[in-house]
Symmetry: D2
Subunit: 343 residues, 4 copies
């Protein structure tokens, strides 16, 4: 039985591993100058538009930090939600490597709006204050919510009117595409996004994220940023082959649709359990809920998952590309049973 | 036909990929809290000694930089050979992330000695000058040469007498073990080395290096250094399973012995070709030689390899775990033929 | 007529300039190895206790950043009030130079409490999260409020119980001493503070702040931190002579007592003006108040001062060592007249 | 009797201190928005040309680092002489704050040439290698030598042809102007220099250097660079008033001419002493010489000066704006006497 701790607890999709095996064998140029890397870049252009300049990196923190290094000088600042991964789960890498301040804003649902961002775009031109340069959003968010195309467009317009950039942390961008029922470019490139990370790991890869730069000037120094940030793989074919496996057909979408469906199934099932209060719209592959901490504790003895907020008792239940309907149902049944009677 | 450009041009050993496939499947804890990671740490202790605290990272630059971050504050400096990978091939990552100055010393053979290092350990206690804190050597070196146990011990003693650390960049540590005919700990832990990176990628892995900390105080903040340096893999089992495949039996040693043997075969073969002058002792898996640039150019049309020094015409011929004797012989024959007559 | 914009708008006390003139003349060793610097260190020990190790620097941002560099590694974090100078007025220097995240907490009065700080000391031991290492408070605060000895002691105890440090930004430490009626050490050294900056500039010096380290281990690398942070004055005698002038007698205290008295006089005078609402306890040399923005605008045409919060209409009126009672009275009268009738 | 240790051992010229006294008194805007700062900027434009955008900072390291931060991203590198102040005397501040690598080249006389620089402008476009972006020279050099206008022009042309900048560390720029007999702009602005620091401290100020930006794009983010680098003075009038005193008339030039003349007098005097070998052309205010270390030791008991190179016995004798002919003659006589007979 799998748990609901994290989509990082799952392994890799068999098709991804098969692609790595097939990429093995002969010698090929290192550092991304190989045919698999060429093909991955081509596929990313097909999905994000011809202007998309892409660079593969090891992980999500690496993708975000490299993009922010391209967008910011150290006296410029990044506006983000207080719940953003860059703010709370990257070990201070953005501050350390970009040298910049994150202007983090509390939100009810993990989503920024122009009205919220405006509070952080202050003291413009004042040399004593960092200058807001980037709006960074996560799609789908860390709280499992979604930005609509219109909401992203509004943020992009707000940013561009002030000489700022819009960055999307897309560790779960595939889940957003699946949930919105839109091609990737519709809510990135076509919505005015300047750069996006396109996550592979959580969606069934061994490892690997794609940095997709849409504002052309961001690419200028990017090869050096990636290298200096220690995110350049030597045997680049193995990162690239995974992305080719994901993007050549619809594996990326199928996997995300499935984990979203499991999230919805779980939300539906637990929403009916008295004592469980769902706290966020379960729009992607995760459910947030508040329940009795004593029940949580008993449940965690059998099913791994994380408490999100000790104070409120809020928990996070994350579905993955390999979560099965049976597991969802068994988990919901377990919750019910833990309420019914202590073991 | 493969070339002699880089051991990064080769793919992964089939046993490594098989191990990744076998590690796939169930859910397991992320970020190194899985059984494969436990086993990898156990095996690394078996090879390097019980005090070895190990951390897997993505790549060699990541391993070196994380170790140096543990050893240095930004006003402390790292003494290294001018030819060191950290000095010329890591895109300035050490300066950027450690914040420190590299005190690089010219050497004839890529090797530091206490006499050389002494030149950089100056102005001790002078607040205007960076203070040498680390001696960093590469084993086997970027020039294919080797440190003996005694040479490493002398550097360690020199370092420790001055409150300094000895770091070994072991991107090709397996080749050194094979060439010296010694267990790994004999020329690291037992020689007084404080921390070593143990390379996997060049020796037949998909990716992955192990940071092995031998001075216990270095481990204190290391989990945060690794995370903040963006070197923590989420699906850690896939890095760990590769190391288990390498270290459980003797795959790591077999592969290194083979690439060394190919290096020796190549050195022997080309050493007899008039017009080819071998410039470094070919003690590991690489041959450096000077030959007529016109010959080099004709040869590169068919066989990929790198010119190391445009000025002198020195080239680098690197053998890999998958280089065959036939390829070595064919390459040596091709060199001879290129000298004989322009195509 | 002087305004109420900033204590940085005032010049230097004549006794300070006289001391600089007297220090001029002969040759003396540079970089703090001169008799004036010796004497300044001696006087700082007299005021802060024998364990006080002091280092003079150029300015307040320099003092704060150097102390935080001594206290933190980049993955450790600094807990501070959202209104702290380090958080909003140092151009992102703490993030850039320390590499660290500031965990800024909203407060009603610019003051931290153990209860507030506790919210930021979370995820201890979690490698994905920065680890709170320093509590940083300002005394007197940016909002003109004061910590009592007991409040500081409680923060120090909280910090030390968790392996953390307590830092005091003392840009206006003299004002706090004057307001509390206590010697400097009573609410720093004796209250468990680990390091404090002791401000000179705002209190009547040309420039210069003293870093006073009370936890002995902080001094170990400090000469290099100061130099590398570009805060080491070459003709150190001129910084030191100013501090000697301040501390040899009671100039530091007289000046602070005077500016505090002017703050109190101003608070008393404007507190009676209908339409002016004082928003913070005016415990030091500054008054915060909310009044009609139209009145503010008319007033600023004649008297320079800053609007603190555009949204609420809150303004800041700062008194200096050279503010006169006549100026305070004239300013209060001007406020009254601006309410009475538009010019 | 003064020594020959450093021009930082001297105090401030009385006219400078008088100017500070005269700037004292009334309230004025802080952070460089005062009339003295306006006047200093105006005078710097008069000396360096209308395009000169200037920013006052605390010290020479601050000036150099701020300029390099404006010129470089962290993966770009700075080519300098091995003897450059930024390379050996700034405590690693350039690496730490700019994040960059210094590509330091050995020189016989502290001077770079296009031929020398060319060796460091390698691997252009190679993402594994830092990319040379700045040529940094010192005028007059740390070894007391001078660049001619033609030499500087050649370096500027070399730089600009490769998209690089030319930076001049002008801690002793006034000495260069005096020695060349040229206006400041003739060998900076008019020679193609992109940015220069114009030193005040060593030439008789209390403290203060001017950053003079000549390539207009460098000024864009400079106010934030200065603030974030902790180089923005709050009571800016006191830095500015000193520069006004220096530049309003010819104090800057008179002082430099005098210290140069003392340097020449010293070189002439000691050049005739058997056993003293002058090692560098004494073109500015300093003399380098090799003599018997035993003589050096006896001499240092009475006259402070620095040994430059322990290995060779080379010493540095620095003259200042306040060095007198009598002191030069007495020092030369002392050298002769120390050779004659041990005390």
């Amino acid at each position: 039985m799998k748990g609901f701790a994290s989509d990082n607890y799952s392994g890799a999709h068999p098709e991804v591993l098969t692609a790595m095996l097939e990429a093995n064998g002969a010698h090929t140029a290192a550092y991304g100058a190989d045919p698999w890397s060429d093909r991955a870049r081509e596929l990313l252009r097909a999905h994000f538009g011809e202007q998309a300049q892409s660079f593969l990196v090891w992980n999500g923190t690496g993708a975000n930090v490299c993009i922010l290094r391209a967008m910011c000088r150290p006296w410029q600042a990044v506006v983000c939600a207080a719940s953003a991964h860059i703010n709370v789960d990257e070990g201070g890498a953005p501050e350390f490597l970009v040298g910049t301040k994150l202007l983090d804003l509390p939100t009810p649902d993990g989503k920024l709006t122009p009205e919220l961002v405006e509070r952080a775009v202050i003291r413009v031109g004042d040399e004593h204050a960092v200058q807001a340069r980037v709006i960074s959003v996560t799609q789908s968010t860390e709280l499992g919510t979604l930005y609509t195309v219109e909401e992203l467009r509004a943020l992009a317009d707000f940013a561009h009117a002030r000489g700022m950039y819009l960055h999307v942390d897309g560790a779960r961008l595939a889940n957003a595409a699946a949930a919105l029922g839109l091609p990737l470019r519709a809510f990135t490139t076509d919505a005015g996004v300047d750069a996006v990370s396109f996550g592979g790991t959580k969606n069934g890869m061994v490892s690997g994220e794609a940095v997709v730069l849409l504002a052309p000037e961001l690419a200028e120094g990017f090869p050096w940023i990636r290298k200096q940030s220690m995110q350049l793989a030597s045997k680049g074919r193995f990162l690239a082959a995974q992305f080719v496996a994901m993007l050549e057909g619809d594996l990326w979408l199928r996997s995300a649709q499935h984990s979203n469906a499991m999230g919805a199934r779980l939300a539906a099932a637990v929403g009916e359990i008295p004592g469980v209060r769902i706290t966020q719209a379960a729009q992607a592959n995760v459910v947030f809920a508040i329940l009795d901490p004593a029940v949580t504790a008993r449940l965690q003895e059998e099913w791994p998952f994380y408490v999100w907020d000790e104070a409120s008792g809020e928990v996070r239940w994350m579905c993955s590309w390999d979560t099965t309907p049976e597991e969802v149902d068994a988990f919901a049944a377990a919750i019910t049973s833990k309420f019914a009677a202590p073991d």
